[in-house]
């Protein structure tokens, strides 16, 4: 019967599939969701102040000619507490740091700053993850390099580890030029 020919093709297709599976298994899995907003201007927004310690944050604050680090965080997020020393070091280096507090409460935030320090010049309250969605952030913490014209230049997903600091500083420098 003519069955022989097409059954060979099925066999070939099957082993191609096994090859694909093997290839994917052998690669480390990258589950991060990269923002498609990198390279684009940050959408216009205005967030109210998250606590009475810092003023709120709007898109105009970011387009003041200097590059900024925008840290998307929350007091209820454990890695956000873990990255606090690194953010403090960036602040000592003179980096302009602004925060976006996602789905947070003023009291919790104040306690969080009390405990881990407050490296931010401005902290906007993003109550319903509105800004978070606009800039393509899928979780906390994430840190964005935004240049002086308000264009998102880089997205750092996950906590800032000590070894990430030189990279972030280099990207800020790039954003300046």
């Amino acid at each position: 019967m003519k069955g022989v020919r097409w059954s060979l093709w099925i066999l070939v297709a099957f082993f191609a599939l096994v090859g694909l599976f093997a290839l994917q298994l052998s690669r480390p899995k990258d589950d991060t969701v990269a923002s498609t907003m990198v390279g684009k201007p940050i959408p216009s927004f205005a967030l109210p102040a998250a606590t009475d310690q810092n003023p709120g944050l709007s898109s105009a604050d970011l387009a003041d000619g200097k590059p900024h680090l925008v840290n998307v965080f929350a007091s209820w997020c454990v890695p956000c507490a873990a990255e606090a020393p690194q953010l403090a070091e960036l602040q000592r280096e003179g980096v302009p740091l602004v925060g976006v507090a996602v789905r947070d409460q003023p009291d919790d935030l104040a306690a969080f700053f009390q405990r881990y320090g407050n490296p931010f010049s401005r902290v906007g309250a993003d109550k319903v993850s509105q800004l978070q969605f606009l800039i393509g952030s899928s979780g906390v913490p994430e840190t964005y390099v935004v240049d002086g014209r308000g264009v998102i230049r880089h997205q750092h997903i996950g906590m800032v580890r000590p070894e990430d600091i030189p990279d972030l500083l280099a990207r800020l420098k790039d954003a300046q030029g």
């Binding site: 019967m1 069955g3 022989v4 059954s7 060979l8 099925i10 066999l11 099957f14 082993f15 599939l17 096994v18 694909l20 599976f21 093997a22 290839l23 994917q24 298994l25 899995k29 589950d31 990269a34 789905r103 409460q105 003023p106 309250a125 109550k127 319903v128």
Partner: protein, 649 residues
């Protein structure tokens, strides 16, 4: 000791599977008749030992024996007993043991009762079953030992995912595994038939109840899984084309085609190649599904603990079992004799279209599920969702449903359309009336419109084959077919109405505020804290009235579990005959209001009701076939007894 006893039983079962394989192999050779006698007892003993191992696992979970690693990782002494026991298979190792146990029991059962096929084919089948089983034993014993000990013994277990503490979900894996394993039996029969060049109507008859049973379990599993996702995830949707949903849908599609094919082979001796091929494909889809879920190469809401060794192991099993069977098929496909011929316009012809369409949908789902993997190999990230799956599968599903309406009315071998003119006009009229009626209601998209019309067509046609027949004497399988086809119409109706007429409201409400959603007026009367056995919750009290009627209370919750810490939303549903009110409460907003999400979903319950009707149809067909088989056995025995009496007289 219990754990060691279980492990020993598992090793012994594996040894018996090896014995079964070797004896089946050597027993086929001249002079191997004595060895061949070992095969069936080995299969039965293997089933018993595997059952013992599984009971031991249930036992250590029931006792919360924290010196067993699996218990410590997945259980907690404060958990209700039923979830402690269900926890035994709510994890990778335990679920694999469950799989192997069901497979061994099914293998033991065919060894015990099946005598219709030539012994040679039976040996090859049991050998194939042992071969597949051995792979899974190796996987369990070397890469996923459920009985591994933990030292030092921890003071408390690490709990179980709170999302999984749900009775429906406790039953979900066993149901799906019964389906997958039933397909492994069909696979073994197909391999046995190919090896011994014995693709006959008898083979189809023997295989059919297993496929039918597997298909019924898969139907229930998919229906229940869909309902679970619907009320537990709190997103208001019932199908997300998630890789894991697709992984269960693909074997179902293959099994649907398989038992229709097997029916043709059993009663008409046609579609031999189709039946064998689908027998191999159906189990392949189960294994590919298992691989996709367990290896973690696709991102899905069903995340199992991912371990690359396990992925590699399952991939190797997949390559050996399925690759081997496909190679065997390629080698033997030419030797399968062509069955009985039939005209294009005949019931066989309609069933071939059914096979082709189901295979096409299977291909579409497989492609959509794997496409992200293919592009990822070229470092491009994509995700494939409803905009692809819905219209592309509809291209094949809609014509298939039209054929489904006509096919059962056709005669075997050859038919003329004039003969069934009356029923065809009735079916067509039903479709056109509904199409026009739905079209007049503004704002319905094309797919929903066609879905409604086809639901009417299929519903009317489902009972046409019963025309002019005595309902009392109608065989159960015919009832089963009518009910299952009607179930498809009911489910399709639910899907179309839900997607066309659902009303959604997302709002932040003050206590005391009223919200209108569709015909409902919902008032948030109170928000209060509640405590459960292992969670605390924020619960909202809603008072809902339908078109100004009496008020009903709904209590959606946002639960926080503490072991492990996690928040889930418990939706509250109110079911009426014509739909469901679906409510979810989120957290509070900064200004003291509460996030509420409300849906009115007309006739959404028809989706699962339809699924259950489909499964019920399968159940009736299965009972009908098994009862006929039992009657036949009893009759043969009586004849044998009578003959013996005559001979001695």
């Amino acid at each position: 000791m219990i754990a060691e006893f279980g492990l020993a039983a598992l090793w012994l079962a594996a040894a018996l599977a090896a014995l079964q394989l070797v004896a089946a192999w050597l027993g086929q050779r001249p002079g191997g008749e004595t060895l061949a006698l070992l095969v069936r007892p080995a299969a039965v003993t293997q089933a018993l030992l595997c059952g013992v191992a599984f009971v031991m696992l249930l036992w250590v979970f029931a006792r919360t024996d924290l010196s067993v690693l699996l218990v410590a990782e997945n259980s907690h002494s404060e958990k209700p007993l039923i979830y402690k026991i269900a926890g035994a298979w709510g994890n990778h190792e335990g679920s694999m043991l469950l799989w192997v146990t069901i497979m061994a029991v099914a293998g033991g059962l065919i060894a015990l009762i099946e005598h219709r096929l030539p012994e040679k084919t039976m040996l090859a089948t049991l050998g194939a079953q042992a071969f597949v089983g051995l792979g899974f034993y190796a996987f369990l014993l070397f890469a996923s030992n459920p009985f591994a000990r933990l030292f030092p013994v921890p003071a408390e277990g690490q709990g179980m995912n709170p999302l999984l503490q749900d009775i429906g979900l406790a039953m979900h894996p066993p149901t799906l595994y019964c389906g997958y394993v039933g397909l492994s039996i069909a696979f073994s029969f197909a391999v046995g038939a190919l090896l011994t060049r014995n693709v006959t109507p008898e083979f189809a008859k023997v295989m059919r109840p297993w496929v039918m049973g597997a298909w019924m379990f898969l139907t229930v599993g998919i229906t229940a899984g869909s309902y679970w996702a619907y009320y537990e995830l709190g997103w208001g949707g019932w199908w997300f084309w998630d890789p894991v949903e697709n992984a269960s849908l693909m074997p179902w599609l293959a099994a649907t085609a398989l038992f229709h094919s097997a029916s043709v082979l059993a009663s008409r001796d046609a579609l031999r190649t189709w039946t064998v091929m689908l027998g191999v494909v159906a189990f392949s889809m189960s294994m590919i599904g298992t691989f996709l879920v367990r290896s973690g190469i696709l991102t899905s809401v069903h995340a199992f603990a991912v371990d690359p060794t396990r992925g590699t192991f399952i991939l190797a099993l997949l390559a050996i079992n399925i690759g081997g069977a496909l190679a065997l098929f390629a080698a033997r496909a030419g030797t399968i004799a062509e069955g009985e011929r039939f005209a294009a316009l005949s019931r066989e012809g309609a069933l071939v279209i059914n096979n082709v369409a189901l295979s096409a949908v299977l291909g579409i789902v497989l492609l959509g599920t794997l496409y992200p993997l293919v592009t990822e190999a070229f470092s491009v990230r994509v995700s494939v969702g409803p905009p692809y799956f819905n219209p592309v599968s509809a291209i094949f599903v809609f014509p298939m449903l039209a054929v489904l309406a006509v096919g059962p009315l056709l005669r075997w071998r050859r038919d003329r359309l004039e003969r069934i003119k009356g029923p065809l006009i009735a079916i067509g009229a039903a479709g056109i009336v509904v199409l026009l009626a739905a079209w007049l209601m503004a704002g319905i998209a094309l797919l929903q419109l066609l879905g409604l019309a086809l639901a009417a067509v299929v519903a009317v046609s489902a009972f046409m084959p019963l025309r002019g027949r005595s309902l009392k004497r109608l065989p159960l399988p015919v009832w089963g077919m009518a009910i299952a086809h009607f179930g498809i119409a009911v489910a399709l109706f639910g899907m179309s109405v839900d997607s066309a007429f659902t009303v959604e409201k997302l709002t932040a409400a003050d206590v005391g505020q009223s919200i209108n959603v569709g015909p409902w007026q919902v008032r948030l009367t109170a928000v209060e804290p509640v405590a459960g056995p292992n969670w605390t919750a924020l619960s909202g009290r809603l008072s809902a009235s339908y078109k100004g009627g009496p008020a009903h209370e709904l209590v959606p919750m946002s639960r926080t579990f503490w072991a492990p810490p996690q928040t889930t939303s418990e939706s509250a549903l109110l079911t009426r005959w014509n739909g469901q009110l679906y409510t979810v409460i989120g957290g509070g907003t900064a200004d003291g209001r509460w996030q509420l999400r409300l849906w009115w979903k007309p006739f959404v319950t028809c989706i699962w009701l339809g699924g259950l009707l489909i499964a019920l149809g399968g159940f009736l067909a299965l009972v009908g076939r098994v009862a006929a088989d039992v009657r036949r056995r009893v009759a043969t025995r009586k004849i044998a007894v009578r003959r013996a009496e005559v001979a001695t007289a």
